[in-house]
């Protein structure tokens, strides 16, 4: 009872912190908006159309994207860590992000050479779109992994297959990079650094629905995940269909990763670090608590990263990937040391 109370207090404080960070995300950016002005615009959006555009059409969708992407990647990471019983597992492990990168490389870099021109005048880019290419690449790999998952029983084998697919996709990407011109490589590198600003108002509705569906589905998993922690044999004795539950976990985790990567680029680290942070804060491995906990902590940290990436004073936005690891890595080291 006491423990439950503590958990509720913790969850509530995370939510409150999250709300504060969310407002800070609307408040702070490279254009300085005085608090009074912001408040005015929130109450009367018509009073200053320019500021209102910056706040509602640029900062707001970015904050919502950060929130959802953070939750999605963290849940995805938790699922992977439990499924593989490996504390180093993360959403990129099965090669899904590498698949997305390959898809993007094909659109950005390959369109560059069809026709033998270095920087060609093909408009394929604008017609197909990065998100679609990334999603195609990611689902292709996800399908492959799901196919393998129903054949192999041993999860270590699946990890190795995932890593190999990752290397394969990576090397194809490198070959394309090698033959591409500077501008195209730069565009690709920038995509690879991740950003929460690419979603924008027009795609936000779809992004939100797609992510929420995946997050909602994950809320049905705690029971299976808790049993899986006991080991495959126990789980089978308790009447769990191992192959089917593995399939389901990989599907949900891969789906969330694919959607986030398609829109925000391959965002590293959150998926690995947040589950550790959640286990440390809540001191439990019960997924009934862990799943909502990683969602909320993921949102919180992701909003914090987005804020740091946009601190006034930097020209342009810092890449999200640089920020996630920058603040994430010390946190993980600290936790590991505290645990001992």
């Amino acid at each position: 009872m006491n423990h439950n109370k503590l958990n509720i207090i913790l969850l509530l404080s995370i939510i409150i912190l999250g709300v504060i960070l969310f407002f800070l995300n609307l408040f702070l950016g490279s254009v300085v908006i005085p608090f009074k002005e912001l408040w005015n615009v929130i109450l009367y959006p018509e009073s200053n159309p320019t500021i209102s555009t910056i706040v509602f059409d640029y900062r707001l969708p970015q904050a919502v994207t950060a929130l959802l992407a953070g939750a999605a990647l963290s849940v995805s990471g938790l699922l992977m860590q439990t499924l593989f019983r490996n504390p180093l597992a993360d959403p990129s492990m099965l090669g899904i992000s590498s698949g997305a990168s390959l898809g993007v490389a094909v659109t950005i870099l390959l369109t560059g050479f069809l026709g033998g021109e270095a920087l060609s005048s093909f408009g394929l880019w604008s017609n197909i779109g990065v998100s679609l290419a990334a999603f195609l690449g990611a689902t292709l790999v996800l399908m492959l992994i799901l196919g393998f998952s129903s054949r192999v029983r041993n999860m270590t084998t699946l990890i190795i297959i995932g890593l190999m697919i990752s290397y394969l996709a990576g090397s194809l990407t490198d070959i394309m990079k090698f033959f591409s011109v500077k501008e195209d490589i730069h565009a690709f590198v920038i995509w690879g650094m991740g950003s929460f600003s690419a979603v924008g108002t027009s795609k936000l509705a779809f992004f939100s629905i797609a992510i929420s569906m995946g997050l909602f589905a994950s809320l049905f998993l705690p029971k299976i995940l808790n049993i899986l922690l006991l080991g495959d044999l126990y789980a089978e004795n308790l009447g769990i269909n191992i192959k089917r539950s593995n399939f389901l976990i990989i599907l949900i985790s891969g789906y969330l990763t694919a959607i986030v990567t398609a829109y925000c680029g391959p965002i590293a680290f959150l998926g690995l670090a947040i589950p550790h942070l959640a286990r440390f804060i809540f001191r439990t491995s019960d997924h009934r608590i862990l799943i909502p906990a990683v969602m909320l902590i993921g949102m919180l940290i992701s909003l914090l990263c987005n804020l740091i990436a946009r601190v006034p004073g930097f020209e342009g936005n810092l890449p999200i990937n640089a920020v996630t690891a920058l603040i994430g890595a010390p946190v993980v080291i600290w936790i590991i040391l505290r645990k001992r």
Binding site: S121, L132, E315, G316
Partner: protein, 380 residues
């Protein structure tokens, strides 16, 4: 289960593909090409339209062009143009993504119309740096990472951008409400075609008479210079550029630089290549083809002193080239001469530079005491 997944994925595909809608522009109006005010450039056309201009910018995909109608502030806009993109000239404020754009504003003395630029740290132009430090011009980031908030905040009439197939600026236009004008000057393969883009900025500033005059002077000088080289029999061979991370990117045989080499009476090593962009050639092939070339054109953007000694340390292949051994490197120090912003509007000067090196005895009359502006022979 499987059917459900496939259904789900197809729904997602549907939604994602809906995001990337493409706009089609009506292209029904047949243009009378004799009225086109553009002579050399292939990626834009200007037609007189009622008492203003119709500007057509060719799309990168070559399928849908973008039309703009430009009218002076004092003129009433014709009623049949309701759904068209209209630009009032002279424009009050613009954001110029490329230095080749603000360079013309500067040349026209109209820099006060430029409110934002990109990558100000790459230029050595003193006036620009001063205006940026005084806050008159705002640096809005890099072309691959534009600071959207600052662009929205500037509320410029117009955003001049360089369209690359890999960069999508459509969202920027939607958010800022500014008119997005693509400026694909880099696609022109004729040196005079590149220079002709000054006409677009001229109209935007209401100074088309000035840019028209400048351009026709450039054409006259360029043509008279290239005509003196048509008869030369001894053509020196020339190649271009240093490798980047050991990858050699050289101008294609139909590129802007290849054309200037040809007009300056030289034989470009890759002149038979058909590309207008750049070629990726491995070091072996560069050695094979260019080892005995007479001249080597190099663009230097480093701050450190540029000498043969330093180059030899940088890459042990360099001393194997004849042009290196005989000290025939033609070097442009971009920091010193503003190569990237200005040279494209002075193809006549570039041409004179190369003729000066390739055939010094052919420069006569007003060119007699010519001193190269961009490309100078590296002596030490």
């Amino acid at each position: 289960m499987k059917r459900f997944i496939f259904a789900l994925i197809s729904i997602i595909y549907f939604f994602i593909s809906c995001d990337t809608s493409t706009k089609a522009y009506d292209n029904d109006v047949e243009e009378n090409s004799s009225l086109n005010l553009v002579r050399y450039a292939e990626n834009f056309e200007i037609y007189p339209y009622k008492s203003g201009y119709k500007l057509i910018i060719k799309n990168l995909s070559k399928r849908n062009d973008t039309e703009f109608y430009l009218f002076n502030d004092s003129i009433k806009i014709p009623s049949d143009l309701n759904d068209k993109i209209i630009i009032r000239t002279p424009i009050n404020s613009a954001i110029a993504f490329s230095s080749t754009q603000w360079a013309v504003f500067q040349k026209l003395g109209e820099l006060d119309r430029v409110k934002g630029i990109l990558e100000s740290n790459y230029t050595k132009n003193e006036e620009i740096l001063r205006l940026v430090s005084e806050g008159e011009i705002i640096d809005v980031g890099m072309s691959t990472n534009v600071n959207t908030e600052k662009v929205i905040h500037l509320q410029a009439d117009l955003i001049l951008y360089t369209p690359y197939p890999t960069l999508d600026f459509s969202n920027l236009g939607k958010l800022s409400g500014s008119t997005m004008l693509p400026f694909p000057d880099y696609l022109e393969s004729h040196p005079l075609g590149r220079a002709e883009w000054m006409k677009v900025i001229g109209i935007l500033c209401g100074k088309e008479d000035v840019t028209n005059k400048w351009f026709s002077d450039v054409v006259n000088r360029y043509e008279s210079l290239s005509s003196i080289c048509t008869e030369v029999e001894e053509k020196p061979t020339v190649f271009s550029d240093l490798p980047f991370e050991n990858q050699w990117y050289v101008p294609g045989g139909k590129s802007y630089i290849a054309k200037i080499f040809k007009d300056a009476g030289a034989d470009y090593i890759w002149k038979h290549n058909e590309s207008t962009g750049s070629l990726h050639i491995d070091a072996e092939n560069v050695l094979l083809n260019a080892q005995n070339a007479d001249y080597w054109r190099v663009i230097n953007s480093y701050d450190e002193p540029f000498t043969y000694e330093r180059l030899a340390k940088e890459n042990e292949l360099y001393p194997l080239f004849k042009a290196f051994k005989e000290k025939q490197l033609l070097v442009c120090d971009v920091r010193e001469c503003g190569y990237f912003e200005q040279s494209q509007y002075e193809p006549d000067v570039l041409l004179a530079d190369f003729i000066y090196h390739f055939h010094p005895d052919l420069l006569k009359k007003e060119w007699k005491n010519y001193a190269p502006k961009y490309f100078k022979k590296l002596v030490k």
